[in-house]
C-alpha cells in the first residue's frame, strides 16, 4: 500500500462481503419459497425476501465500487485521498442507513413503512429495485455526492490517468441517473419508461465503465503490461459499451406501451451489446498472456479472467438469447429473464468487486503483495465453487424458463401460470441445490481470509 489513506477501503470491502452473505441467505429463502410456497409465510412473504435479496446486492456492490475507488484512486493520482475522514463518516452513514432500511423491510409491513417514512410527500417507493423509502434515497444521494467530491478532488488535483477518468465518468453517471428514481408519475407508461433510465443506464451503461476501469487497474498492476496498451483497450471497450448500450435501452421498450419502432432500435443495438463484453474477454486473456511479471497474487488474476469471461457469458450471451423482439415477445418476464439476471450480475459486478478485493485486501492487511499460498488456494476453491454454482443456477432457470414459455405462451392449450410453476418445480429444486453449493463457495471464500495468515507470503515466481 503506497498511500496511508487507501486504508479507508478496508471497512468498505468488509461491509461488502458481510452484506453479500446476507444477500445469499435471502436468495436461498426465495429459492425455497419457489417450491415450498408457504415457507416463512406470512412472516417473511416472498416480496419482502426478494426486496432484501436485490437491495442487499445493490448496496454491497456500491460498497465494493466505493472501496475500489478509495483504494485505486490515490495510487493512480499519486496523492493521498482528499478527505479520509469524510470517507469514513460516509461509510458509517451508508451502513447504518442500509441496515435500518433492511430492518424496516423485515420488521414493518411495507405499507406501514411507506406511511412511517412519509412516502406520500414524495412517493418513490414500491417500484422494482427502487423500493427504498424516499428518505433512504435522499441519503443515497448525499453519500454519492460526498463520495464524488472526495474522489473527484483527489483525481483533479493529482496525476490524471485514463483509469481514473473513466472511473469518474462512470461514478458521475451513477449519481446523475439515480436522480430519475425520484420521478414517479401517475402515468404507468411514463413511470416505466424513465424507471429504466436508472436501471438500464446503470447496469448496461455507467456501471460497465466502473467495471472496465477497475479491471484495467488490476491488469496494469498484476501483468506489468504497458499502461498505454491497456488504456487503449479500455477506451475502445467502453466506447462500444455506450455506443451499443444507450440505444440498447430500447430492448425494454417493446411491450410497455411505448411506440413499436423500439422493437427495431432495441433489437439491432442490443444485439451488438455482447461485442464490448467479448472484447473485454479477449483483452483480459491477451494482457495476462503478454504479462511481463508473475504476480504472486494468482487468485486476483483468476478473478480478473473470471469476471471478463463470466460477464461475456452472462450479460453477453444470455442477454442476446432473449433480446431480439420476436423472441422477447415470448420470453419477456419469464424465468429466462431471471436466468440472465443471475449470471450477468455475478459475472460482471460480483466478480469485479471480488477481483479488486482479492487484489487489494492482502496489502490492506499488511502483506506486501499477496496472501500465503494456503489462503490463495482456498480462495481459488471458492472461485470455482461459486462460479460453477452460478452456471448451474443459470442453466436450471433457463430450462425452467424454456418450459414455462412453451407451456404458458406457445403450446396449443396455454396453461395457467401456477399450473406451469408446478410442472417445472423439479428445476427449481435443482436450482436450490446449486444455490447451496454457492453458499458453500461463499463460506469457503470468507474462510480464506482466516486461513494461512501466519504463513509466509507467496513469492513472485521467476
Amino acid at each position: 500500500m503506497q498511500y496511508s489513506s487507501q486504508a479507508v477501503a478496508k471497512p468498505y470491502f468488509i461491509a461488502a462481503i458481510g452484506l453479500f452473505a446476507g444477500q445469499i441467505l435471502f436468495g436461498l429463502i426465495l429459492g425455497l419459497q419457489y417450491v415450498l410456497g408457504d415457507f416463512l409465510f406470512p412472516e417473511i412473504p416472498f416480496n419482502v425476501a426478494r426486496m432484501v435479496h436485490t437491495n442487499l446486492l445493490i448496496v454491497w456492490l456500491l460498497f465494493g465500487f466505493m472501496g475500489a475507488a478509495y483504494y485505486l484512486v490515490p495510487e493512480e493520482s499519486e496523492r493521498e485521498l482528499e478527505s479520509p475522514m469524510l470517507a469514513l463518516a460516509m461509510f458509517w452513514i451508508f451502513l447504518v442507513a442500509g441496515a435500518l432500511t433492511v430492518l424496516g423491510y423485515l420488521l414493518v409491513p411495507y405499507a406501514g413503512l411507506a406511511q412511517l417514512t412519509g412516502n406520500d410527500l414524495l412517493p418513490t417507493m414500491g417500484r422494482e429495485f427502487l423500493e427504498q423509502p424516499t428518505i433512504t434515497k435522499l441519503g443515497i444521494v448525499v453519500v454519492a455526492l460526498s463520495f464524488l467530491y472526495n474522489i473527484g478532488m483527489t483525481i483533479l488535483k493529482g496525476r490524471k490517468t485514463v483509469v481514473t477518468l473513466v472511473l469518474l465518468i462512470g461514478l458521475t453517471g451513477l449519481a446523475v441517473f439515480f436522480l430519475f428514481s425520484f420521478y414517479n408519475p401517475d402515468n404507468l407508461v411514463l413511470d416505466k419508461f424513465f424507471w429504466w433510465w436508472v436501471v438500464h443506464l446503470w447496469v448496461e451503461g455507467v456501471w460497465e465503465l466502473i467495471l472496465g476501469s477497475i479491471l484495467a487497474f488490476v491488469l496494469i498492476k498484476t501483468t506489468g503490461v504497458d499502461r498505454e496498451v491497456i488504456e487503449k483497450w479500455l477506451y475502445i471497450i467502453i466506447a462500444m459499451t455506450l455506443i451499443t448500450g444507450i440505444v440498447g435501452t430500447g430492448h425494454h421498450y417493446y411491450w410497455i406501451g411505448t411506440p413499436e419502432y423500439w422493437q427495431w432500435w432495441g433489437s439491432v443495438f442490443s444485439a451488438m451489446e455482447p461485442i464490448p463484453f467479448f472484447m473485454m474477454t479477449v483483452f483480459a486473456f491477451n494482457m495476462v498472456n503478454k504479462r511481463r511479471r508473475e504476480h504472486p497474487n494468482k487468485a486476483a488474476v483468476l478473478w480478473a479472467l473470471g469476471t471478463a469471461t463470466m460477464a461475456f457469458l452472462g450479460a453477453g450471451v444470455w442477454g442476446f438469447l432473449h433480446t431480439l423482439s420476436p423472441v422477447n415477445y415470448y420470453t419477456h418476464g419469464s424465468q429466462i429473464t431471471a436466468a440472465h439476471g443471475h449470471m450477468a450480475f455475478y459475472g460482471a459486478y460480483v466478480m469485479i468487486v471480488l477481483t479488486i478485493i482479492s487484489y487489494a485486501m492482502p496489502m490492506l492487511r499488511g502483506r506486501t503483495a499477496a496472501n500465503s499460498n494456503k489462503s490463495q488456494v482456498l480462495e481459488m476453491w471458492s472461485f470455482w465453487l461459486m462460479t460453477i454454482a452460478i452456471v448451474f443456477i443459470t442453466l436450471f432457470l433457463t430450462a425452467a424458463g424454456i418450459l414455462q414459455v412453451y407451456l404458458q405462451r406457445m403450446g396449443e392449450n396455454p396453461l395457467p401460470f401456477m399450473v406451469v410453476q408446478d410442472k417445472v418445480a423439479l428445476f427449481y429444486w435443482l436450482r436450490e441445490i446449486a444455490g447451496l453449493v454457492f453458499l458453500i463457495g461463499l463460506l469457503t471464500y470468507i474462510a480464506s481470509f482466516f486461513v494461512g495468515n501466519d504463513e509466509p507470503e507467496a513469492k513472485e515466481s521467476a
Partner: protein, 143 residues
C-alpha cells in the same frame, strides 16, 4: 491491437460515439414522449386509478407479480388480469378471499384487508393497465 490504431483514436471514438448515441437516444425519447398520448391510455387516468397505483406501490405488489412483464416472476402477470379474472368483480373477489395464514404447502397472496374503496381503486388501476397499447403482449390470456 496494432500500433496504427492509437490511444487518441480510441479516445475520440469513445467521446464522439457516446455523445452521438446519447443524443440519438434523447431524440428517440422525445419522440416517444410526444406520441405516448395515443398509446398509454392517459385519458382514463381517473382519481381511482391514481389511488390504485399508489396502493399497488405501497404494498409492493411488484415484489411477486409482473406488470406488463416487469417485476418478479413468483406470481401471475397482472397487465391482463382484468381480462383473465373476468373484470373488476373478479379482481376484487380474488384479492378479498386470500386466507390470512396462506395455503399449506403452496404460494398464496397475503391478505391485505383492503376496504371496498381500496379494492375498487386497485381494480380500476388494473383495468387502466390492461387498456395500455402493449403491442399485443402478452401472447395469450395466461400472461
Amino acid at each position: 491491437m496494432s500500433q496504427a490504431f492509437t490511444k487518441a483514436m480510441a479516445r475520440n471514438i469513445f467521446y464522439g460515439g457516446t455523445v452521438f448515441f446519447f443524443l440519438l437516444f434523447l431524440a428517440l425519447s422525445l419522440d416517444t414522449v410526444s406520441v405516448l398520448p395515443e398509446r398509454d391510455n392517459r385519458a382514463n387516468l381517473t382519481e381511482a386509478v391514481v389511488q390504485g397505483k399508489k396502493l399497488w406501490e405501497n404494498n409492493n405488489c411488484i415484489g411477486c407479480h409482473t406488470l406488463l412483464g416487469e417485476g418478479a416472476y413468483f406470481a401471475p402477470e397482472l397487465g391482463n388480469a382484468f381480462t383473465r379474472l373476468g373484470g373488476k368483480d373478479g379482481i376484487m373477489a380474488f384479492i378479498k378471499s386470500r386466507p390470512v395464514d396462506g395455503i399449506p404447502g403452496r404460494r398464496s397472496m397475503p391478505q391485505f384487508n383492503f376496504t371496498d374503496e381500496q379494492l375498487n381503486a386497485l381494480a380500476e388501476f388494473l383495468k387502466y393497465s390492461s387498456e395500455i397499447n402493449s403491442a399485443n403482449w402478452p401472447p395469450n390470456v395466461q400472461g
